[in-house]
Symmetry: C2
Subunit: 661 residues, 2 copies
């Protein structure tokens, strides 16, 4: 027989485990990995189990003892300390000494003769002594001797029942017949920004000195202090490469462009270069590098767009015709989603026989920009390229640069979006933009944070993008914009905005569509960021609140409140230690006061029922004492459509006394 | 690169799949295996998928096209036709021709020029023709020619849009870049009795001619016609082997036996032999074989008890002392669950160094009894022997005898019971015996039939066993017995009873315990099966109803009704074709009339709302016409605590006209 038939413990139902271990779960540095499993043996014996984990760079496994929960379920937690890949697995065995100790206790309680049992226990201890280091070995031998030789048994019984004896012996178990879980599971550990980031999207060409003329990276440098002050830490640029001339799009997506029309940045490539070049009017690549450094000085990282598609003029088309689809009439196949056509863009044919060279070239594009200082990429339409390609690419990149972050711009079916997360994308766009009602948000957040999805998929909530001006913004008012801002910024720890359009409440759409009228995709805009209507102040406030409150730097920690008003969406977020408790209530009605009642989960928050506690409303900076679990709230959207309270547990009141006096 | 990067379709979320494919699901012959999976590709192309399956004896896979459900979920079903092991897996690919046909339809609808597209389509068809057999190949080539050469395009457009063209081309797809699911999953196919069986348990020694004296197998032969007439098809005997003399138990589990006390049949082995011997007083083994044959003549199979434990006199103890645990004082370790002791039984030590020889010997015991004609085994306490042992044993047995059925007698924690099912047990005892209220039954049935459990665990419901006289029977009345009978026999397609005690309503317990007073385990009883109080008649009736109605021969087909009375438990069971619709309502109150209202799921039953249909109450053999979905019911337990209706859909009314005229 090939197996070792005496391994009696089984391990199953391990969580987290994605697609049977095919894919890694995701964490950031210092974020706990809580593992659970069903672990049991035949018979009535006690068992012991450990969680084993290691950084994939290390050889040696670290061990954490598992604790029994209920119904044969065990758990343990480890904390990855470095960016990179970690592995975990489980080991369990029958703990004969623990079993012996449990049984002899029952026998002594029942007044049974245990003289032979004491000698069996002595034997277990002697064998544990052989496995223990010298000091504990001596102690174990001493105990064994007492069990073996004490005639009146009073002393032996004390030793037999002593928990310290059990604990010491259990530290040196006989693992000869232990069971290992048959898989090693992976954790993909990112830096903190993968989980907590605040994105600001602009078209750099629109911020020039002269209206309608291309701005340069140098022009954009002066935007950085303002963006930093507003609390954004990622500045995302649509593609900055040369734009194709052939079939260039005109204003409002017209198939005919006029002279001077700049074209869509996503129509990448011209005689001036392709994916590794910068559009000449933005300045030389050295200016881009200089801009990136200036951004870092402002605590801002640049996120670059990776759109693996080509304009008809892209150098690849001549150099690698085999990477594109050719039609029987000798023309190249444009991108299309019939009856729609995208004449300025050629899709790459990933079914090309020459796919390996293609993959290597695309990889070299990513490495090129990493070498220019880019650490974050926003991937355009990843769902139209093979999953296997992304899986390979992200592994290749992480081998050398494990701190790179990839945002997936896949607005498509849920299974496809989650698969992209599984193959390695650090963050993803979501359906947030199209969710409207309280119940839709609760449902969606539960899917994101209460199912397996939470282990792999990090949502990034956007109230708008250059492609999406959603209906509620088209027809809403200023409050609607603030509500969408509050929802994005508090529900999700990653959020972003297509910035000037959002902060200036641009809401003119192409009739009957979600497209911006006079979209910045096809023309150079001239935004007046200093408009008195700007949302700059409330954006700055909410971003400051996010930065000051760790509870808002997580998404999976959300707990919805049951408020008896369908317009009021309320939830609590806390950090692990309950040192930061945030209560958010948002009035989804842009026009009317709404009032409701709710009950706080005081037990969970460890706030005593009978003592008052401080509720600090962070937007208005007002403070009130609350008591008990039942509360009423009224929100006038014209004052502010949301309230964000920080609740102080009594234990912190003395310490924070100056805070509210 | 090792991978083929152009395989674009992914397959995940496959169901059923137990422990990631480590274990087989269970079916009986002709029972459908419905497989579902998430299958999708990058991009917007159409995909195709097939379910592949084969009998493990065959080399070639059979294929079933999968259908799209919703949300990237696909399904297909196959039906295993033979007892044994089947395998299934999935394959999927991008269907370029289907994509082409979808796209060209949209382009034609939008009035776009499709002349080049027609030529692309022609090319697809030509390549499909190369893969097709000659007749269809010629047809495909003809269509290709039309697409290529028809100038005015009217003819080509007709071909392009013709679904038959798509269907023909899709039958000969280019699977060069198809994706296979990375696992082959297993189905363990049993004969029908694994799913539908009716068990009668007796101690054969109690049915002798002389009161208090051992009966023989020959004596028992005369019981067979009566058992068959009552509708039982499995006759289960506790162990029939020689019983140990040493530490033999006396009446009522006394540790001191008197001369003449027969001892517990589970204290197996004496100087007269062990697990391959028959207790001499039952007769020679030839009589057992004869009995088995007689039983078969009565459509009854014998189920034998496999209790892998030994009395202190068992020949193994001397021949294989290493198979037992020895204590430092030279005595052998009895079975115990401190502070309880079972002095007449020695557990086998599965951690013995000599475990391989032990396993082989135990296997030889099973083969020995199979060779005597036994096809069903009831395994005593399987949860106190290693899971790996059972997995190996059952595989070994099924290799030669795939029709063997194993019933697991594990009354223990749920995860342990389900693991035993996963490693191969065909049926299992359950918590049925201790469930009392309507909600407890609904909860438990949902766990058994609505979760993954249903794929591996076949419940067998017992209202009592020689070890368990549950509280409700101790303190209930005749109606209580009938209620438990109805619950067991209608909720579960497998059920059984410790028969004479149940049918004669024996309810005297050891004070404060679930043990029978004067338990048959320790003495020879003398049951008066002809007592006027016997439940024989109602048992016969319910078993006849089970045999006549295929809906009651399944467990997973249960659908509970929402009845507005907590004493009335109601549910519907149907066969796949809706040709047998059974409605059961049980009054759980043994003492009082109970009335309630419920709604029938007419849509699901395909019964029209506005037409009357026949409801035939099968216990009382009374017929009524019903109409619509809302119904009232009243059950007087003193008449009969349950009603079992067969509902006839209108389509059958003409056919069954004579049935109710």
């Amino acid at each position: 027989m090939q197996i070792e038939g005496r391994k009696r413990v089984v391990i199953e139902g391990v969580k987290p485990e994605i697609n049977g271990g095919l894919f890694a779960i995701k964490r950031i540095v210092n974020e706990p990995v809580k593992v659970e499993a069903d672990i049991f043996s035949d018979g009535h014996e006690e068992i012991a189990a450990i969680l084993m984990y290691r950084n994939s760079k290390d050889q040696e496994w670290r061990e954490v003892p598992m604790s029994f929960l209920l119904n044969d379920r065990w758990t343990a937690t480890f904390i990855p300390l470095e960016v990179g890949e970690y592995l975990y697995t489980l080991q369990a065995w029958v703990d004969h000494f623990k079993t012996w100790q449990k049984d002899i206790r029952k026998k002594i309680d029942a007044g049974q003769d245990v003289s032979v049992d004491l000698r069996i226990g002595a034997d277990f201890l002697k064998r544990a002594a052989e496995r223990a280091p010298s000091k504990e070995s001596a102690q174990l031998k001493k105990w064994a001797e007492i069990l073996n030789t004490d005639d009146d048994q009073a002393g032996s019984r004390i030793v037999a029942l002593n928990p310290e004896v059990g604990e010491t012996a259990s530290r040196y178990p006989d693992k000869n017949l232990s069971t290992f879980y048959h898989k090693e599971l992976m954790v993909h550990v990112d830096r903190k920004k993968a989980k907590f980031s605040t994105w600001y999207e602009i078209f750099p060409r629109s911020f020039g000195k002269t209206s309608g003329k291309y701005a340069t990276f140098k022009d954009c440098e002066k935007l950085l202090p303002r963006i930093a002050e507003m609390g954004f830490d990622v500045l995302y640029f649509p593609p900055i490469h040369p734009i194709g001339q052939k079939n260039r799009k005109g204003k409002n997506n017209s198939t005919i462009s006029k002279p001077g029309d700049p074209g869509s940045p996503w129509a990448i490539g011209s005689a001036e270069g392709g994916h590794k070049s910068v559009h000449p009017e933005l300045g030389p690549i050295t200016d881009f590098k200089r801009f990136t450094k200036k951004a870092i000085e402002n605590q801002i990282e640049i996120a670059l767009d990776l759109a693996f598609q080509c304009s008809p003029d892209h150098p690849y088309v001549k150099e690698h015709p085999e990477w594109f689809k050719w039609r029987p009439d000798g023309t190249v196949q444009y991108a299309e989603n019939p009856p729609k056509k995208y004449q300025d863009v050629l899709p790459v044919n990933f079914e090309t026989e020459n796919w390996q060279e293609l993959w290597e070239e695309l990889k070299s594009v990513v490495f090129f920009w990493i070498e220019q200082g880019v650490r974050i990429f926003r991937i355009d339409n990843p769902h139209t390229k093979p999953f296997a390609f992304w899986e390979w690419l992200i592994i290749e990149v992480r081998k050398e640069y494990p701190d790179i972050i990839f945002l997936s711009e896949a607005f498509t079916r849920p299974k496809v979006m989650y698969r992209l997360a599984k193959v390695g994308f650090s963050q993803s766009y979501t359906y947030f933009t199209w969710r409207n009602t309280k119940w839709e948000f609760m449902d969606y957040m539960n899917e994101l944070t209460r199912t397996e999805v939470k282990e792999v998929f990090r949502p990034n909530f956007w109230p708008n993008t250059p492609d999406i001006l959603p209906e509620h913004l088209q027809f809403g008012n200023r409050n609607t914009f603030i509500i969408r801002l509050m929802l994005a910024a508090t529900l999700s720890s990653n959020y972003g905005m297509y910035a000037p359009a959002f902060e200036l409440m641009e809401n003119r759409a192409v009739d009957g569509k979600e497209e911006y009228l006079n979209s910045e995709k096809y023309e150079i805009k001239n935004w007046n960021l200093n408009s008195p209507d700007s949302l700059q102040k409330i954006i700055t406030t909410i971003n400051r609140i996010r930065h000051e409150n760790t509870a808002l730097q997580d998404t999976n920690n959300i707990d919805f409140l049951n408020i008896d008003n369908e317009h009021l969406l309320g939830f609590i977020k806390t950090d692990e230690e309950l040192s930061n408790i945030i209560l958010v209530v948002i009035n989804m009605d842009s026009y009317s006061h709404q009032a409701g009642r709710f009950a706080l989960p005081l037990d969970k928050l460890e706030i005593p029922q009978r003592e008052s506690f401080l509720a600090h409303e962070l937007i208005s900076d007002t403070r009130l004492f609350w008591q008990g679990k039942n509360h009423s709230i009224m929100i006038d959207p014209d004052k502010m459509p949301a309230k964000i309270f920080r609740l102080y547990r009594r234990i912190r009141r003395e310490k924070d006394f100056d805070y509210f006096m």
